[in-house]
Each structure stands twice: as structure tokens, then as C-alpha cells.
């Protein structure tokens, strides 16, 4: 299926309430979807026989600081059956002390497990119902999120100590 057809199929199924925006960049279309519906939309993308996105290439995060909403989660998906690709995004916002959160897509694509763990620790995004919400790359005791734009590259002795206390 062509990118345009995938987008139209999503729009006709979910409507513009859930498919918030779409961008065409050099023939690659990415759609921004409603944060709360990410699991539902991904399930449709995976299980619809014409789409059959059975392979998740990656999950990544973006920090748009100082814009609001601040965070974006990107899902790059591929169908090995039909040999087509697509990109889905969702915008997230922190509220006070609560980290931004979105539903985990591990039930659909087990690959998402480690990708979401990395995104979670690097950006401080909570993936709801994640089966294994430990840190992946950072030492266990750290509470900072190094890929945020307001994080100092050098860290501090308190936040990023050489050895666990």
C-alpha cells in the first residue's frame, strides 16, 4: 500500500479526533495520533490484513523543549508481508511531578520492550503496563534523564556518580 492510502485508511477508521495531524516529508508520511489511543491504533495497524504491520523497527523519543507539549514518542513500523513502512507519533506532556506517560505497545510487538525501556530512562517517559520497567543502559540508582534538552552534558557528582553510593 502507498503511504497516502495507509493514512486515508487510518483516517476513515478512526477519524480526525484520533488522527490529529499528518506530515508528508519526501514521500514519507507520519501521523500524529491521540496519546490515549496509541494501543488501539497500533493494534489496528498490526491486525488489519491489508496493513499487517508485523514488525516494529524502533520506538524513540523526542524532546521538543521548550515547546508544549514537550515530548514526542515515535513508532516506526514495517510490514514484512506487504513490504511497506509507516511512522506513527504521539505527543506527551508532563504535569507537575508526574512524568509524561503513554501505553506500552509490548503486547503487540515484543521488540518494544527494550526500546521503551531506553526511551523511558533517557527522556523520563512512563510506559504504562510495561512488563519490565527497569532501566536498560543507565546505572540503576540514577534519577536523571540524559537525553532531555535541559540536561547538562557533563552531569554532576550527585546525579551521575562514578560509583553507586
Amino acid at each position: 500500500m502507498k503511504q497516502e492510502e495507509i493514512k486515508d485508511k487510518l483516517l476513515s477508521k478512526f477519524g480526525s479526533d484520533m488522527i490529529l495531524a499528518s506530515v508528508d516529508f519526501r514521500g514519507q508520511i507520519s501521523v500524529t495520533v491521540l496519546r490515549e489511543k496509541i494501543l488501539e491504533i497500533c493494534r489496528y495497524l498490526k491486525e488489519d490484513p491489508d496493513l499487517a504491520f508485523n514488525f516494529l523497527s524502533f520506538v524513540a523519543g523526542v524532546d521538543w523543549y521548550p515547546k508544549t507539549p514537550r515530548f514526542e514518542v515515535v513508532y516506526q513500523i514495517q510490514s514484512l508481508k506487504h513490504n511497506h513502512r509507516f511512522r506513527v507519533k504521539a505527543m506527551l506532556e508532563e504535569s507537575g511531578d508526574n512524568l509524561a506517560s503513554i501505553d506500552s505497545v509490548v503486547p503487540l510487538w515484543p521488540t518494544a520492550n527494550w526500546h521503551e525501556r531506553e526511551t523511558a530512562e533517557m527522556f523520563g517517559i512512563t510506559f504504562n503496563n510495561h512488563p519490565d520497567p527497569r532501566k536498560l543502559l543507565l546505572p540503576d540508582g540514577w534519577t536523571v534523564h540524559p537525553l532531555r534538552k535541559d540536561f547538562s552534558l557533563y552531569g554532576t557528582k550527585e546525579d551521575t556518580p562514578d560509583l553507586p553510593a
Binding site: L138, P146, L153, G155
Partner: protein
């Protein structure tokens, strides 16, 4: 003359400390252990082109309990550091450390939150081999410098006593 001549020069008279140092430096076994790209240059130093075996060091020990020398070859990330220290603690005295490459010496190009800014913050380094990565010749030179250093040690009268920070686990 004396006892050497009496025995037709079949014995060599020296002092015990020299002999102990000579024995230590002549069969100094490195730990088979690499952290990053420098480890490939270290491997090159082991194989026949550069032939570390010329200096009695051909056996890289997989177990720290058999090893005398830790070549910290590469970038020590903060996540890796507790494991490096734990391996060092398991090595029997006397033990030596070579910091190989810019990263092990100072953190190198990785001046950031994730990398230890020089392994000498946590281990007693004997010889620094700078370079990114250093060629095998540079590592061999560092090893020969270490051998010279070992020969000067007061191994019996004033043995090395190391106190290092115990890694949390």
C-alpha cells in the same frame, strides 16, 4: 673468583630482591579483558606480528585470580566501573595496571556524564599509554616501561600495599 669460579660459572650470584623482581616481570600474565576499541590493538599485540610472547606475556588469563596485570584497554563507562573494580579486587597481589588509550587515561573524547574521566580515579595506574587507539608498538613500549618499573621495586623490603575503594554491589 670465589664460589662462582669454584663452580665453573654454573651459578649466578645476585640478591633475592632482584631475583624476585626478575621472576615477576619475566612472566607477567595479563588479564584477558578489553573494554572498547583499544582492545583490538591489544589483541594485535598478542598475535605473531608483534608477539607479546617475547616478553613472557603470551598467556592472557581469563580468571583474574591467575593474572598479574590489568590492561584497561578502552572506555570505562560508569555502568561498567563496578565490574572493573570487582575484577581488580579479585586479582592477587602483586598486581599492576596499565591505562591503555586516551579514554582509560583521561576519559578521552568522552567528556560527558556516562564515562569515567580516567581510570586512575579508581585504580592505581602504573603506566599510561596515550593514543586513540595506541598502536601495538606503543602498548609494547608501555609494557617494557612497566617491566623496568618492576625491576626497581623493593619487592621484599617495602612491598606494595594497595588500598582501593571497594565497589558497591
Amino acid at each position: 673468583m670465589g664460589i662462582k669460579g669454584h663452580l665453573n660459572d654454573t651459578v649466578h650470584v645476585t640478591n633475592l630482591e632482584w631475583f624476585v623482581n626478575w621472576a615477576r616481570k619475566s612472566s607477567m600474565w595479563p588479564l584477558g579483558f578489553g573494554l572498547a576499541c583499544c582492545a583490538l590493538e591489544m589483541i594485535a599485540a598478542f598475535v605473531s606480528r608483534y608477539d607479546l610472547a617475547r616478553f613472557g606475556m603470551e598467556v592472557a588469563r581469563p580468571s583474574p585470580r591467575h593474572a598479574d596485570l590489568m590492561i584497561v584497554s578502552g572506555t570505562a563507562s560508569k555502568k561498567m566501573l563496578p565490574a572493573v573494580l570487582r575484577i581488580y579486587e579479585q586479582m592477587a597481589e602483586p598486581r599492576w595496571v596499565i591505562a591503555m588509550g586516551a579514554c582509560a587515561c583521561t576519559g578521552g573524547i568522552y567528556k560527558n556524564y556516562a564515562v569515567v574521566q580516567g581510570i586512575d580515579r579508581h585504580l592505581p595506574v602504573d603506566v599510561y599509554v596515550p593514543g586513540c587507539p595506541p598502536r601495538p608498538e606503543a602498548l609494547l613500549d608501555g609494557i617494557l616501561q612497566l617491566h623496568a618499573k618492576v625491576m626497581k621495586e623493593q619487592s621484599l623490603h617495602n612491598p606494595r600495599v594497595m588500598e582501593i575503594k571497594v565497589a558497591a554491589r
